[in-house]
Assembly symmetry: C2
Homo-oligomer: 493 residues x 2
């Protein structure tokens, strides 16, 4: 007998681990060799008024008045920079937006509303200049479209800074939640000989710059570097199933690639996905429990650690703040079948006037998903058991013969956040499906083998990581939610 907390057993007991054992006091010896400079967050959160400090960072803005000067110094560790006050305006003479600085002084309670503590400067040293004539990032509010044009400078902006911290923290949350629940992290490959899922939207990979490069061992041209056609993966699922058939609970957190020609802000050519796969589960509701738990716990992790950033994006937006609360509260996310969804949509059609009429047997369109998540449920909702004809060959058929045991998690914003299913684990049935899809050449024999040797009922899901961040930030374009966006017509840097 196990208690309720059985799944919470922690293999990876956490402890704070110091990298630098030899470092002494690291804020009062700014620039001294042998220690990393402290982050500004650390200086501010651990400091007391009157303490001597040395801070380093980049100047976001300078304001010089008659008898005093102010600078905002940032180092990406907080939403806002640290305010530095200079009693002698001459101290600010060499400062300009974008330059890097090392400043010594004293911490002091701030009279301003935007920060709790400020630094009263004693010395100001410019580490690296920044020509104000040319520095492209100014104090004024830039559009995200403009920031994307200066992709190597935009990390210093407040919005991209907040996105970056959320992104980093969210990945940590995902790992923590899944390790806490005994999932084994599998590094599924980016390069794959498997091309059964891409629908033609895969990227091909060649060594030596062209498809005809010779085989490295035989020297024969045309064989290619690997001796077979190789694509960039569109999903780690099939590979993950291999490891689920040995480790019971596995996940991957990897880039995936689609040569999607869309010019909208909804698609990236390179994006990140969390994918999980569990053996020995016979029920879609168990799978939804896992998916729901992952979203809830990861979001709670963000609330606990990046509240400022979540607040920044929910500023003046009650709907977004409500959504974050809804994602993390204990109330189960609603679960409806595709058939019920069609029913809701048909009843709503008179008022909503959908471009595509909702009809049983057809795929849900974005406008339908948006209506369900944003208008009807106003929060996350699982839609299950879609018609088999609208879904891939590997999904497990339901007893009704018409639908498959699958689920999509719809949310306000990106609409489809997560998609998953139980997998067909019956060898003969799956073999016929594979052959009818045109893969009778044996290229999926390895995948079928998983059903020949110790098959188990199993299932899994994938969650688009940029879509997850899009939901929390409300940013329109996924291009602003990844450090270096790649999409049709664009691969900068």
């Amino acid at each position: 007998m196990f208690a309720r907390g059985a799944l919470a057993w922690r293999r990876h007991a956490p402890r704070a681990t110091r990298i630098i054992h030899s470092s002494g006091s690291c804020s009062s010896n700014g620039g001294e060799l042998g220690a990393l400079q402290p982050t500004l967050r650390r200086v501010i959160e651990s400091g007391v008024p009157g303490a001597d400090v040395t801070i380093t960072g980049w100047v976001r803005s300078v304001r010089v008045q008659k008898r005093i000067a102010f600078a905002e110094v940032s180092d990406g560790s907080m939403l806002r920079g640290v305010q530095v006050t200079m009693d002698d305006p001459q101290m600010a003479r060499a400062l300009s937006t974008g330059c890097s600085v090392e400043i010594t002084g004293q911490l002091a309670d701030s009279p301003g509303r935007e920060q709790s503590m400020e630094v009263r400067a004693a010395t100001v040293r410019v580490v690296g200049e920044s020509d104000p004539e040319h520095y492209p990032l100014q104090k004024k509010r830039h559009t995200l479209d403009f920031l994307r044009e200066i992709g190597h400078i935009r990390p210093r902006s407040q919005t991209i800074g907040a996105v970056t911290r959320l992104r980093s923290c969210a990945e940590m949350g995902v790992h923590q939640v899944l390790h806490d629940n005994e999932f084994v992290r599998i590094h599924t490959p980016a390069l794959t000989a498997n091309d059964c899922e891409g629908g033609g939207e895969t990227f091909s990979v060649f060594a030596g710059g062209h498809p005809g490069a010779g085989h490295p061992a035989t020297g024969q041209p045309g064989d290619g570097f690997f001796g077979s056609n190789v694509n960039l993966t569109v999903s780690g699922q099939l590979h993950l199933e291999v490891y689920a058939a040995a480790f019971k609970r596995v996940y991957t957190f990897n880039p995936a690639f689609r040569a999607e020609p869309s010019q909208t802000g909804r698609h990236l050519s390179e994006f990140w996905m969390v994918e999980a796969e569990c053996a020995f589960i016979d029920s879609l509701s168990t799978l939804m429990d896992v998916g729901e738990g992952l979203v809830r716990s990861t979001t709670q992790h963000l609330v606990d650690h990046t509240g400022d950033e979540l607040g920044f994006f929910a500023h003046d937006n009650e709907a977004r703040a409500t959504l974050v609360r809804r994602l993390t509260d204990r109330q189960p996310y609603p679960r409806i079948s595709y058939t019920e969804a069609i029913d809701i949509l048909q009843r709503a059609d008179a008022a909503a006037k959908f471009e595509f009429k909702p009809q049983w047997g057809r795929a849900l369109q974005s406008e339908h998903e948006r209506y369900l998540a944003t208008s009807h449920f106003q929060g996350p909702v699982f839609v299950t058991d879609y018609p088999a004809d609208t879904k891939p060959f590997y999904m497990r058929p339901n007893p009704d013969g018409r639908t498959v045991a699958c689920m999509d998690l719809l949310v306000p914003g990106p609409c489809e956040l997560m998609g998953g299913s139980l997998r067909d684990h019956d060898y003969e049935h799956l073999r016929r499906r594979v052959e009818s899809q045109g893969f009778a050449d044996g290229s999926l024999d390895w995948y079928l083998d998983l059903r020949r040797y110790g098959s188990t009922p199993h299932g899994g899901f994938g969650m688009g990581f940029e879509r997850y961040l899009q939901m929390l930030t409300g940013l329109e374009s996924v291009r602003d939610l990844i450090p270096f966006p790649r999409y049709a017509g664009r691969c900068q840097h």
Copy 2:
């Protein structure tokens, strides 16, 4: 003033997070809907003799005697499977190696030496059969070469199972250590227009299966999908520097790609790297502190959580056990200059009889690195300040005009585990270097811009993740340290 523990401040306070809030007792209701099956590790570690349990997993071996039968059942959560005893040999009738099972019974103290607890079976149910005639993985010891031929089955073997758990735990350790030290995780891109590092060993990427596919927006053939040549990244460093110029401490943990034609077990076409970059550091010794701390803390994390697996690979191998202790103890790793290394090697040459004579100005060969790490220091050693001519353009020159501020961490086994440097942060000097390297076309202007706007002395390093695991496991081929190895002539699945 900050205390010594300043760098250990934890942004991501850990807590055990349950995914499945609704699950009740999950081991006594085996197969019941709504809860994940517990792992065998959980069953064994949390169980008490006499407890009713249900276990699921895959049969590794069956042994039928006259009055009793035994089966070893594994689910990848432990080095060894759980021993199941069946008082009636008939219960084992349907069992064969590789089949999946659900077994109910009672936990009992085991009389065997290899496990503390076993399961006395009450019922045995085969979930998925496994034809013993064809199942390729037998109880007998297979070679790693053979296991690689059955890449979709090998995760069920004891060795690959141990590697996989080490790998998963090591990644978690890396994230934990770097987050504990306030590093921001940056997802540097796999697709890049930057091709200045590959030395011709880069993979090219095309949409639509061939280089001539039209531009998706203009429709013009020859432009390609992105409108520019795109490669798979060989390193995230340059992109990471962009974010280090905004976040001070950043890291990436990503796949990298090299079309290395080598047929040996030392190189993968797709491999994983941990790369870290720090702004505002002026000293190589600080950088080595960070690199050394990462190796020490991650290895300690593995000792704490995967001691069985480390022990498995160090079995009958005192050198490996000593190495793990050496990596984790508090003694600093020795640090010598390249010049001192050449001196040591020249003195050793009479006895060691190197194929390549050690000579100042030439790159260190593998045999030299091996001698230093394995014979001379018998453990990790940093070698610093190599001749500039042997190193890439972005490394920071030393005042002597002949060497650069770089470091390699050499270890027994893979030899070079980590490589890093301070980066040239002087705009004019770096611009001349870039141009002399043939990149005067403006393609690196963005990289140079980092030195124009708020440049800081900075540096970073990369650590090969498979090499790190190779050091700990002693496995000869890196092909056995990644779930799906890709190398010249081979891209299975």
